[in-house]
């Protein structure tokens, strides 16, 4: 039987779902065994191990550079032995940076210095052997079902369907709704969320989501924080095949989970309870970070390399669609609608905090940041100028909003604000029947208060 080639080994072996194990030996043939969090495939003839805790292993490799790796396929539990020879350790460079980022994102715990990557240890692969295992399948309920965790197919046809749905959308809201829906129906990504970067704040805002217990629209996550923030900061996809396994070490997952719960002044992120897999891809337009598209699943190993490429491509289509809607500045002229009189006797009490642009409704947190500032502006204008129609153009230019003169994402921000108001059902709504215009609807008397900064 021909020995398998290292380059032909399945990519899943290097996902880190089932830990690999390493055997090394000292000069006196004393063996040492250790589990490894992950093995990287460097090229067609080398693997890299992250040197995080190896004491005895390093000592052994100094005496005897040949070691043995045991890898287990996470979908079939087929196993391979790799006879490897220690080649060198890298403490800088692309490989080291990639591994360090991965560890910074999905490892570390109480004491980061303990878990920091010391080096990327490169090993030459000398031999590859697939183990012959003859399992006892007599246990009741354990049938010979082969590879029981089969992958779903998805590809060009799904991308075509997404592209068509984006092309057919006349409004940003429709684009997002149909786009995320296609990600579920044609790609099999049932829980997805789209984040947009607010460059002036260094914050990502959840613009839209699908398939989560709470939409999380308007939720914020800083660059570098959690899976979403780390993906954005490094502009690299992050794929976690088994959150349960990685949670033990996982600062990013812990941070993400904390954010998912929200807080006094935070909207809870869109998140699945008991998510097992996560995938986040950066969205880059014209060389600049635009946002992040993320997917979660309750299954382990839900996302592989193909999903990473697929979601990245789908994300680029969505990002370009969103950007096109921003650029379409055709704003029909129409007479402004007057402010409708309150039809009920209730009062809507809004409080605006200048310090962080947060808006509270009857002491309950609503939104903050630039969307909060926008809400504050239009409600204030409504009260002082007695009108309920606003042009995008005037908002863009209004000094209070301090929007950037280029790529202000106003359409997306207004959509986010509109959805947040709808979700909270506070009696205040934004209606956007025409491009470039929005109407403020409220049947309550509005009371507005400002808490100055400082």
């Amino acid at each position: 039987m021909t020995a398998p080639l290292f380059s032909d080994l399945p990519a899943e072996l290097f996902e880190g779902v089932l830990p690999a194990a390493l055997a090394s030996a000292a000069a006196d043939q004393a063996p040492n065994a250790t589990w490894l969090s992950q093995v990287w495939r460097v090229d067609s003839g080398h693997v890299a191990l992250s040197c995080q805790f190896f004491r005895k292993t390093r000592s052994n490799l100094g005496q005897n550079p040949v070691a043995l790796l045991l890898l287990t396929h996470p979908r079939t539990v087929e196993q391979w032995r790799l006879l490897v020879r220690y080649s060198r350790s890298e403490t800088t460079g692309t490989l080291f940076d990639t591994m360090a980022r991965r560890i910074a994102t999905v490892s570390a715990a109480e004491n980061e210095s303990v878990f920091a990557l010391r080096s990327a240890d490169i090993f030459e692969v000398l031999e590859v052997e697939k183990l012959v295992i003859e399992p006892d399948l007599s246990e009741p309920g354990v049938a010979d079902r082969g590879a029981v965790m089969a992958r779903k197919p998805a590809g060009i046809s799904a991308l075509l369907r997404l592209s068509e749905s984006i092309a057919a959308s006349k409004q940003l809201s429709g684009l997002l709704e149909s786009g995320l829906s296609v990600l579920g129906s044609h790609f099999g990504y049932d829980s997805v969320s789209l984040y947009l970067l607010e460059r002036s704040e260094g914050i990502l805002y959840a613009l839209a989501s699908r398939g989560f217990p709470q939409s999380g629209v308007g939720a914020r996550i800083p660059l570098g924080v959690g899976i979403i923030g780390s993906c954005a900061q490094h502009r690299l996809p992050i794929r976690i095949a088994d959150l349960a396994r990685e949670r033990r070490y996982d600062r990013a997952v812990v941070e993400q989970a904390a954010r998912a719960k929200g807080g006094e002044r935070e909207i809870a992120l869109p998140a699945l309870e008991q998510a097992a897999s996560a995938l986040a891809v950066p969205l880059v337009l014209r060389g600049s970070l635009f946002g992040v598209l993320a997917a979660e699943s309750r299954e382990i190993l839900a996302f592989d390399e193909q999903d990473e490429q697929l979601l990245a491509t789908a994300g680029q289509l969505l990002a370009q669609g969103v950007a096109l809607h921003e650029e379409d500045d055709s704003e029909p002229e129409a007479p402004p609608l007057p402010v409708s009189l309150p039809t009920t006797r209730g009062v809507l009490r809004l409080r605006y905090y200048e310090a962080d642009d947060s808006v509270f409704v009857d002491d309950e947190y609503l939104i903050k940041g630039i969307p909060g500032r926008i809400l504050w502006l239009i409600v204030s204008l409504r009260e002082t100028e007695h009108r309920s129609t606003f042009q995008n153009r005037e908002l863009r230019l209004h000094p209070l909003l301090k929007l950037p003169t280029f790529k202000d994402n106003l359409e997306a921000r207004l959509l986010m604000l509109q959805r947040r108001l709808e979700e909270k059902s506070i009696g205040l709504r934004l209606r956007r029947e025409d491009r470039g215009r929005l109407h403020v609807e409220c049947n309550l008397q509005i009371s507005i208060e400002v808490t100055p900064a400082g």
Binding site: A30, N32, A33, W35, Q79, I133, D136, E299, I300
Partner: protein
């Protein structure tokens, strides 16, 4: 030659092994070539010896190494908590173990319960190693903490 583990360390190890950790056994041939196989079960005997079930055919070279050198290292990790210990010993011999079928099943079902909890389909658990197994017995002489963290690599005294 190490005098062996203290009674307290042996007790610790024995209690740890009955929690059905995931096991990987390292050996080495006379030329210094390492070998590794998943072990099916491990227990501390009343006499303070370490018994390990090595599956076959995938463990054939490990058994050959054991017959040649008598030295082994076994790393054991509890899937649900990541607590990991490594035990080393020498003087390993192939031995009969009349209760090995019961021990193997008990160990596999214990591990299976943990793997189920982390989302791995049950059908896969029974394919991790072969049903045919050979017991080895040795004197455990060194015990190390291997749980990721500041204590990794430190000797366990008891």
């Amino acid at each position: 030659m190490s005098p062996g583990l203290s009674p307290a360390a042996l007790r610790s190890l024995g209690q740890f092994l009955i929690q059905s950790p995931s096991l990987a056994l390292a050996t080495c041939d006379a030329a210094g070539r390492s070998e590794m196989v998943r072990a099916a079960a491990a227990r501390i005997t009343p006499a303070g010896k370490l018994r390990i079930l090595v599956p076959l055919p995938e463990g054939a070279r490990s058994l050959a190494n054991i017959e040649a050198t008598g030295r082994v290292a076994l790393t054991a990790a509890i899937v649900s908590t990541y607590r990991t210990l490594q035990v080393k010993g020498s003087g390993a011999l192939l031995v009969p173990w009349p209760e090995q079928a019961e021990v193997a099943r008990e160990s596999l079902l214990g591990l299976s319960a943990q793997l189920t909890n982390v989302g791995m389909p049950r059908e896969l658990h029974f394919r991790l190693w072969s049903g045919r197994q050979q017991a080895i017995e040795l004197t455990p002489s060194e015990l190390y903490e291997q749980t990721p963290g500041p204590g990794a690599g430190l000797a366990v005294s008891g």
